[in-house]
Amino acid sequence: MTIEKARYWAENMTELSKNDRLWLNNPVIMQGVGLAPMVVAATSGYTALVLAVAVAVMLTPTRVGGAILRKALGEKYDRFAVLCYAFPAALCYIAAYFLVRHLWGPSALQQVGVYLPLLVFEPLIIRRYRAAVPEGPARALRRGLYTTVGYLVVLLGVGLARELLAQGSLMDVQLLDVQLFPLAAQPAGGFMLLGAVCAAWRGRVRAFKRNIYQEVERNK
């Protein structure tokens, strides 16, 4: 990294970290949201993909819809902010349900069980109601898209890793004859694997930030 770039990063680290939903402020790794579907239902690349499509359909429209509704209702009715997000989420779920059914058939819905409808109350989707100040629709759209990308990267990665470790396959293609970590297919293994991924990811982020500050310090 060039010194100019390092200086820019060092000066704007807080703002850049806040806006980066993929790497520095990933919703799963840094904020711990959207854990339930990832830990229990995303046991293979296929189930992770089913959940990913549903999240992609639900997250951004819910956030934008919630932002518009909250603004329209005004401060007087802010105590109902949670409903401003939950109702659009429940409506988006109907679209996600039919899309998943159309793409993979009813068996896909059975494989993810209650974890698909559960997305309606998932903090990943509706947590913006807790924010004291409502966001504008344009900002909601931008942030929603970034958060979706950040979540899907971890969801698909964890789903594929669990399939490989538990079954020795990737997207149903058998690659290994041994089961390296069969527990990965169970919720307990999901918690442990996600914990390990979180630790490694956070370690890399800390190292990245430390390197930037050291680089700037060296070139003072």
């Binding site: 339930a36 109907i94 309606v120 109350f121 807790r130 169970q186 390990a196 370690g203």
Partner: protein, 207 residues
């Protein structure tokens, strides 16, 4: 008489099952994102949160059981179930608020009402509540079984909160590598607790 006794036995059995063997957090990870935040944020009363969650669940589950019976002939009931359950949760949340208002409304300050409102919203619109309602309906439980399951699920959530809070207290240790502190070590700890639950359930879980 035997019908009442049977219903009571089913209620108790499902309550115990939901609290321990099929613990909402440890076997199904329901409400785990909230739990991690709740335990981290020591300011919020864990007991009050779990009490509200349990009460809303117990109030909402009979309504969602009835609604599910009405939805049975509808071909695409699974698509609209979350919307119906959202309406039921809203009604249950309103009912709990009304009882609170009638019992303590005039004695509390505006700030206390605001705090209670925020806590009730977080406890009601929680994936543990929706998850419990969905499990009760997809597994076709009878009404006593459903209410028992809802009660046990709330108690199980509280047990998980207590276990994780105590675990985190003991895990605040300098010997734990920096990268593992906070969420990663909590997830590993939850994984180990979930592993202990396999002693009750075996390796298969209906989701």
């Amino acid at each position: 008489m035997s019908v009442i006794l049977k219903a009571l036995a089913e209620f108790v059995l499902y309550a115990v099952l939901a609290a321990f063997a099929q613990n909402a957090v440890l076997s199904r990870a329901l409400g785990v994102s909230h739990l991690v935040r709740l335990v981290d944020d020591g300011a919020t009363g864990n007991g009050a949160f779990c009490l509200l969650l349990t009460v809303v669940q117990v109030v909402a589950v009979p309504m969602c059981w009835g609604a599910n019976q009405l939805l049975t002939p509808f071909a695409y009931r699974s698509a609209v179930r979350p919307l119906v359950f959202l309406l039921i949760t809203t009604a249950a949340c309103g009912l709990v608020w009304l009882v609170y208002w009638l019992a303590l409304g005039k004695k509390q300050s505006d700030d206390a009402h605001k705090e209670m409102g925020a806590l009730l919203a977080t406890a009601s619109f929680n994936s543990c509540v929706l998850g419990t309602m969905l499990i009760v309906t997809t597994q076709s439980l009878t009404l006593p079984q459903a209410i028992g399951f809802a009660l046990g699920s709330g108690v199980g959530y509280y047990l998980a909160v207590v276990l994780v809070a105590e675990g985190q207290r003991r895990l605040r240790n300098r010997r734990i590598p920096m990268s593992f502190r906070g969420l990663p070590i909590t997830l590993l700890y939850l994984g180990m607790l979930a592993l202990a639950i396999y002693g009750f359930t075996g390796h298969t879980l209906l989701i």
